[in-house]
């Protein structure tokens, strides 16, 4: 476990925020997650790393959970506070030999976009399309980070996005070329359904590139 000093908190919506911390000598592979909690506290939660491998800071994207214990406390942390980090963990990673050669489809719901943001920030030249499923447009967290034509916002509760409906509706209407490498991150139902749709469209998903958010 290492202690990292908080640099700043960036509020994206009333309930979603980014904590930026000093990186120190922490290294990770883009797509991995850490567990985070206040120094000395036993209460910890898992968060995918939002920042890139080469950034000299470490960021996590957090949604405050109603009745949640840790996400509420973390929202109140201030610059100069110390947070304990354990990790990195996880196998939700890009394959080095595919990054510059393949076309990628990233499908994320809500804050499940966090490791995808890290992928793209780490490898900005990769050929990708990103489907981001949210309820409302305000949840298009820092969409300016992505090349405009590559980011498709799917909004389910209002018509303000690029597509009105769920990411799975978009997928059904817009079949994916079979040589696309797909990464899915978000809630279990989306992954379950999207996986089926992609498979029916002829995508050989091979080892599953999925990360479930709860």
């Amino acid at each position: 476990m290492r202690s990292h000093k908080v640099i700043e908190i960036r509020n994206l919506t009333p309930s979603t925020y980014i904590i930026r911390m000093e990186k120190n000598d922490f290294t990770f592979k883009t797509g991995q997650y850490i567990t985070l909690g206040f120094s000395g506290s036993i209460d910890r939660r898992e968060y995918s790393i939002y920042s890139s491998e080469q950034d000299d800071y470490l960021e996590v994207l957090i949604k405050e959970v109603e009745d949640g214990l840790v996400s509420k406390k973390l929202k109140r942390c201030k610059s100069g506070d110390y947070l304990d980090i354990d990790g990195p963990f996880g196998h939700f990673s890009l394959k080095e030999n595919e990054i510059s050669k393949k076309k990628f489809l990233f499908i994320a719901t809500g804050t499940g976009i966090s490791p995808i943001h890290s992928f793209i920030a780490t490898h900005p030249d990769m050929d990708y399309q990103l489907l981001h499923g949210v309820r409302k447009e305000e949840e298009a967290y820092e969409r300016e980070s992505y090349q405009n034509n590559n980011y498709i916002l799917c909004t389910s509760r209002e018509k303000s996005g690029d597509f009105h409906g769920r990411v799975t509706d978009y997928l059904k209407q817009n079949p994916v070329p079979s040589d696309t490498v797909c990464y899915l991150c978000g809630n279990c139902h989306m992954i379950y359904e999207a996986y089926d749709i992609l498979e029916k469209q002829g995508i050989n998903l091979g080892p599953i590139h999925t990360e479930v958010y709860f």
Binding site: E46, H91, Y192, I208, V212
Partner: protein, 426 residues
Amino acid sequence: MKKVAFKTLGCRLNQYETDAIASQFQDNGFKLVPFDKEADVYVINSCTVTHQSDHKSRNFINQANRKNPDSVLVVTGCMANNAKTELENRDEINYVVENDQKSSVYSLVEAHYNGEIFHPTKLNTDLFSYGSTDKGFHTRSMVKIQDGCDNFCTFCIIPSVRGRAVSRPIQDILDNVKRVVATGAKEVVLTGVNIGRYEYENYKFDDVVEQILELDGDFRLRISSIEPDGFGDKFLGLLNHPKMTPHLHLCLQSGSDSILLQMRRMYNIKRFKEIANKIRSVRPNFNITTDIIIGFPGESDQDFEDTCNIIQELKFGHVHAFKYSIRKGTRAERMNQHIDERIKSNRSEILRNISENVKADYRKGFIGKYQTVLVEKIIGSEAQGYGESYVPVKFSGVNLKKNQFYRVKISSIDFNGEPTLIGVSD
């Protein structure tokens, strides 16, 4: 001569570690006695994977203390990590030794008898420094290749108590295998927490298996428990090697894709079936055994039915099923829709019946065929052991010897208790 007794709970890795510690005690003049006998030293190698494992560990602590209140009582294993404070507060326990210091149990006891005070920081924390297991409890020689796990399945406490994944240098593994084979081991079992994730320098799990299979000697290789996400086609190809035993304990956990996702397992049912079918396409009688968790949060009747169906479809040779229990600090602890204990018990009963029928059918398939049995026990003129498919076999003969291979033709099955193949040796 001082007497030492061991009790091991849980996984094969624990069994291996107990074997190694027991051998060290015996090498230093201790007599090994059964756990229910009076001993000077009791070592409990605990498990904490379920609520029931904790319960059993506590019972054995009480049992040891009742048998000899003046004994040196050592508790190690995963419960020692997970409930350290609770155990340290129990007066009857002399030492609580965490997993990473387990290989030092003998040194600790020796120091105790020498009147020395051994500070925990002085204990060896090398996860691979166990000695030989030649005087342990098993005929099969276990070789530890890996420890810890980074998968963080949502139900599992093991990454917290065994720590991050660490792999043993490949040359150490090969030397260890050569050593045990040279001292007479006929069956080598690879153990670890998540052996499929072996990674040392550029060597992966299949490289380790390949290099062991290329070693000289009259031995066979058995893979213990493995996760379905930890290997590829190269490993599946190695399963056809003549030294490789046709048995894998491939952990499924649930037959429902939705539950597997919530468990954060890194495969789906389709992939699991592909693996099983690929293996059986070459060796139809290949024994695939598995673990199933019953009543994971949110497990619906349909999810459970899917699990029952896949057990029948894939004809598992054995199903180790256990009811889900909350492990503190895991992600599943905070999930909604925890399943009522009565429902879990009902489902356990249903699944147990299905598994036993499937197991019996699987074992009937051996009648009329041969198994190469490694003899572990001889009672009169009857020998007992396991065939290459990891199915128990009993047979009669003359001049039978322990730790020898016998080619046995299977003629029937004894269904009294664990279904055991009955045969005669060639």
